[in-house]
Assembly symmetry: C2
Homo-oligomer: 243 residues x 2
Amino acid sequence: MQIERPRPITEQVNTIIRQRIRDRTYLPGKRLPSESDLALELGVSRASVRTALARLAADGLVLRKQGDGTYVNERVHDVDARFGGLWDFSRLIEANGYHPAIQTLTAERRPATPQEAEWLAMAPDMTVLSLVRLFLADGRPAIYATNVIPAALFKVEGDRFDGSLPIQRFLRNYCREEIAFAVSNIEAAIADESLRQVLRRESDAPLLKLIETFYNKDNHPLAFGLSYYDHTVLRLRMVQAWG
Amino acid sequence: MQIERPRPITEQVNTIIRQRIRDRTYLPGKRLPSESDLALELGVSRASVRTALARLAADGLVLRKQGDGTYVNERVHDVDARFGGLWDFSRLIEANGYHPAIQTLTAERRPATPQEAEWLAMAPDMTVLSLVRLFLADGRPAIYATNVIPAALFKVEGDRFDGSLPIQRFLRNYCREEIAFAVSNIEAAIADESLRQVLRRESDAPLLKLIETFYNKDNHPLAFGLSYYDHTVLRLRMVQAWG
DNA sequence: TAGTGGTCTAGACCACCCT
DNA sequence: GGGTGGTCTAGACCACTAC
């Protein structure tokens, strides 16, 4: 593993340490080398090492103790999803130990619903690109997700696109837009008959409902998302550093 | 507003800028002074200003554009809860625009349930301090929360304590422990008869269920929490910065 | 007391946006 | 071209913990 220029050094250091934790170079519960030692070994400044470690601590992967050292957190190996990491459904499924698959149910242009128009801050009945997908974990339906993008943003001729992309990639590739932040609402909901059928559920146990809007740096809404999680299939376990 | 030594400078700068956004010194959608100007004005280094701004950006309060400037995010004024800010129930209720109140339903020592023992990594039947509370928003029941702490941690003679404290304060005051990180599970659940009664709900609409364990830096479980949110009373709206 | 992480500074160079 | 944020460095001092 070598430090090279183009990618930010702090990110590279972050990746290297993550890797060493994963391959047990740094053992769970044990102390990492000191910041100075790491800086010396990798040939970077201590500030860069500190930035990388701060990120790892925020993700709960390491614990830092002043006057003592930095330790590998032994309790977060099975927990990949951070708070705020609910968007890349495929990664979420993998983090739960399943093999992810995606079914695109519909992909069409249609007028926005009132709710969508409100969240996207657009005039009602503007046309949107609607993408309805089902995410499977080892073949079992786990997430039913609707994503809606103002058609005006779509910059590709015809309607040829890869329906399996996570929303941020989709926006980057086909709309040349970058997500700056998202506003999310979490609710609980009962599945209606059709949803229950799609998710192949017998019981009427409730589902998690996630309502999201994605914005770029100019505060323009880029996309709206409405997702239903079956938490009996997919555990939603998250780590949050305290700070 | 003056910079003084004892509190970390980056925090003070963070507070000052937050204040200026709140009192509309910096207007929504408008550009902040440049990092260098802020550093000069406040008499601190640019690095300190940058650390403060990075935190504000992570909280979604400002948007930073390279080569352009830092802008006040006009869309997050009504959104206080960040991802991971689900713990201070009173603050959450205030952020929703209600007046918070707390009812302590029970406060007792009892043996741990199997689920609690598992999450707290303790032997079954060890005794715990159990705290069952109801949080009200403008008088309406919004959150039903059970918190459980291993009795061995409790360092106060007798059982005199303030039952209205958020969990992190409770642990600090009565157990001399600091929370380093938390592991959370989010689920959806139907209220049973007794819970429906406590929350004064007629409908059988589902609730959000939050299962949490809190750890200190030594990876010891400090507390376990089981909370039910009525999202029809309390909106759970959160911001997540992307970067 | 020695070593660790926590904080802060001053200064450099770069990438990018605006005009 | 001039100003902005993005990155990185070297070095200083402090607070805390383990021994």
